[in-house]
Symmetry: C2
Subunit: 479 residues, 2 copies
């Protein structure tokens, strides 16, 4: 919320009046809308009531607001004595549109984080500032002079980045792609959005793991896609699950996150990958392999990606630099048959006319730099250490209340809570205690699960955060 | 098209075999699909027929393709003797989705430009490489060490950029915005996309200038928006046009491009701005003011933007660095009531999770740099010179065949062709002659108009390009 600047030379009452004037002229406070009482506004802004009185007096004098005895102060209806005016009914407009608002729980988390109060953040699915290759990136920017053309770029992505990705994918994941079969997107998110908007129709059914990150994505809802959950065991989803869903609902696409699945941390076994691929090949159903975490393996490497086994063009493979370098780069990619790539590259121009050259240029140099693989090595160790700190704090502070499997990669620890707890209440208690996390129902799980990310908060806050979480949990269990 | 690399150490036939193998495994060539005859492929690739024979032999040996007497060579149906496989029917998938493909004419232009043949490009709505502030940008990158957090950014945009934009808009356009009322987007394009996806419903009617850039945008079509053209005279659109459209169709939004309108170059007069704003205020219809060109004025400044006159929150103002700095930055913005900004910032996360920090960081420094306004001064002069070269070449080479008004800013010259001409034929003749431009029907005009951009090609090619255009036009008029 806006507050007057006490360090400024301008008197507080003038600052307040200007702020209200701006809000009126921005349509935030349409004609006729009530202003808060002087007492209330004074309280909100932390100023004396007389300061607010002065501000209101100034606005009345300029004819912007009027105070009517008994009915408080409001924005004047007809401020210039000219033709009648109507502010567009913005609150109706913002309820329109096909893009649905985000899930209330997700918005609540963001609101909490943006309130300005310091929080220990176990909710963000991103790396702490010290885990990103900050120096390498700063170095790329200062040491290579930038000499690329600055016009509208290739809608499929900057060619040197696609070339760098092709070798990176071959070396690191055994995926044989050419630059022609790669589309560069604003993170994996935009790859998923484009798929949804270009390859699926409203009403189409897609099969996803249950629970799944995909449940948290309003974009499927916006596109009218029906999501059906597949049961998951230790080895991931089973072909039988896909077959039976397909029989019932005619599945148009299977979306999998085989490595360190978000939120559960599950790794799909090598066998299941082969079986699921064979099943989808037989049924002619495309698989979307969403694979942002594979390079974060703490120990053993995960099995080869489904895409590396795909001889048939069945798998659309999605990757990202978000979880191994920096989510603020907004660099992701899709490897897919050319027909698909061309369709998506054409359509993405409607959304944003293609990606900025700058993050693409930086990403290409980052992938090619000799420091990138060592960075990933360090990242793995750092993430494992964080996981261990979080796990031991949880075991110490909540020995009987929760249980979890130790994730072998990725950013998240998935906890089951023993005992009954309401997700909303737990989150509110957390926010009150200065800690945020994501309740499992966001991912389609029953109440009683939480996703705790050990990647985001500073290492030294993890224990304290678990302490705050434990208190919130105790409070929620008791009520 | 792919071609073998003659400089490589690998034999040509091996390169060809590998390329085909990749295309098969990418699903580009599903099981059963025919390969070109040896003779034809040899021709396409510019190699000896025996080289292709060797490549095919290699692929046959590895069981990937089979040659059947009388029916040519095809990809093997069941390559591993295992369960039957189906490639997903990608050609059906790519016909799905709500994002419609771009207009055929626009795709034809892009195809022409991407064919590898050198073209004189009068089609691109962007600056020539030497018109962008290349040195200033390279300098920003090398001289300020980058030290920003690299996590997911604020979905509304990087705060220092919003602060820089607020002062820029106040100083340059008289628009009083705060950082809170600004949303940073991937060019104006993404602002328009978000509006369409978040504030309008399928079936809604919007009023636009006729002709208009908006007609070229598949995104309105994708969202099921009905576009209605407003007649335009020398001073722009008239309130009567809006009133009568509103009576017939209940207009939900008016989209205007008041300065150096794309494609016509028209500037809306100061009076009309006031009248149109008053009319929309009375009717409660929001105005979208799309204003990418205002700072390119060759002489006199255009009248103040509608947004600077708006006391009511009626106008959503959209701007961009694309036409005054670099379209490859992909930095645009919207100034709007907070309710609108919040709705759009929330929804944009579904598309791309927000913009990359890098172009935002660069744009903030560019706006704050002392060289930016001098750059714009130079740009104005350079664009005016280009306009003059183009105009005099047109007058010399097509004295009786075309007519145009001299634009007073912007990137485009709008020509009316005297005599009957078919847009498609004209474009094809142009492409054959090595010149591209945008036929007017793309913008909703009748056949017989073209938009020629003087901003994109190198200055020294403009005359030659007009010569090629003139030849194409003569050919199209005669047939
Ligand atoms: C499984 C999965 N896919 C996709 C994404 C999107 O990330 P980005 O767009 O930053 O690549 C995330 C982020 O949390 C994720 O966990
Ligand atoms: C009138 C108008 N609006 C918007 C755009 C979109 O440009 P950008 O997204 O690069 O800002 C253009 C580009 O040609 C334009 O001419």
């Amino acid at each position: 919320m806006w507050r007057p600047d006490r360090a400024s030379d301008r008197p507080l009452y003038q600052q307040i009046a200007t702020n209200i004037e701006q809000r009126i002229s921005l349509g935030e406070m349409p004609p006729g809308s009530p202003l808060p009482s002087e007492r209330k506004l004074a309280q909100q802004l932390g100023v004396n009531r007389s300061t607010v009185m002065q501000a209101y007096e100034m606005l009345r004098a300029s004819g912007l607001i009027e105070s009517l005895t008994g009915s408080g102060t409001r924005v004047c209806r007809d401020r210039e004595g000219s033709a009648p005016r109507q502010t567009p009914n913005w609150s109706r407009y913002v309820e329109s549109g096909t893009l649905q608002p985000n899930l209330p729980l997700m918005r609540r988390i963001r609101e909490g984080l943006q309130s300005g109060v310091p929080f220990i953040n176990f909710a963000g699915g991103e790396l702490a500032p010290d885990l990103s290759p900050n120096d390498a990136i700063a170095d790329i920017m200062t040491s290579h002079p930038f000499r690329e053309p600055l016009g509208y770029g290739n809608p499929q992505g900057y060619v040197p980045l696609r070339v760098a990705l092709a070798s990176f994918l071959l070396e690191q994941r055994g995926i044989a792609a050419t630059d022609e079969s790669i589309l560069v997107t604003s993170g994996s998110q935009q790859s998923l959005y484009l798929l949804t908007q270009c390859l699926l129709n409203p009403g189409d059914a897609i099969a996803i793991e249950n629970p799944s990150y995909a449940y948290s994505l309003a974009m499927f809802h916006s596109a009218g896609i029906r999501l059906f959950g597949l049961p998951v065991d230790d080895e991931g989803v089973h072909p039988d699950g896909i077959r039976s869903l397909h029989k019932q609902h005619r599945v148009r696409m299977v979306l999998l996150n085989p490595n360190y699945q978000n939120p559960t941390g599950t790794v799909m076994s090598a066998e299941r990958r082969i079986e699921v691929l064979a099943c989808c090949e037989e049924l002619g159903i495309p698989i979307v392999e969403d694979d942002p975490f594979s390079l974060t393996a703490f120990g053993e490497q995960p099995p080869p990606p489904l895409k590396s086994l795909d001889r048939n063009g069945t798998v659309l493979y999605i990757g990202s630099l978000s979880k191994i370098a920096a989510s603020g780069l907004r660099i992701g990619w899709m490897v897919a048959p050319h027909t698909v790539i061309r369709r998506l590259a054409d359509a993405r121009q409607q959304m944003d006319f293609g990606l900025s050259i700058f993050p693409q240029w930086i990403a290409a140099r980052l992938l090619d730099s000799t420091s990138f693989l060592p960075h990933i090595e360090q990242l793995r160790i750092a993430l494992r250490d964080r996981r261990d700190v979080m796990a031991s704090a949880l075991r110490r502070m909540l020995p009987g209340e929760i249980s979890f499997e130790l994730p072998q990669g990725g950013l998240n620890l998935w906890c089951r809570i023993h005992g009954e707890v309401n997700d909303y209440a737990l989150l509110e208690n957390g926010i009150r205690n200065g800690v945020v996390f994501v309740p499992g129902s966001v991912y389609g799980a029953e109440h009683g699960y939480v996703r705790l990310s050990y990647a985001r908060p500073p290492m030294e806050e993890i224990e304290m955060g678990i302490d705050k979480f434990a208190q919130a949990l105790y409070k929620s269990l008791r009520t």
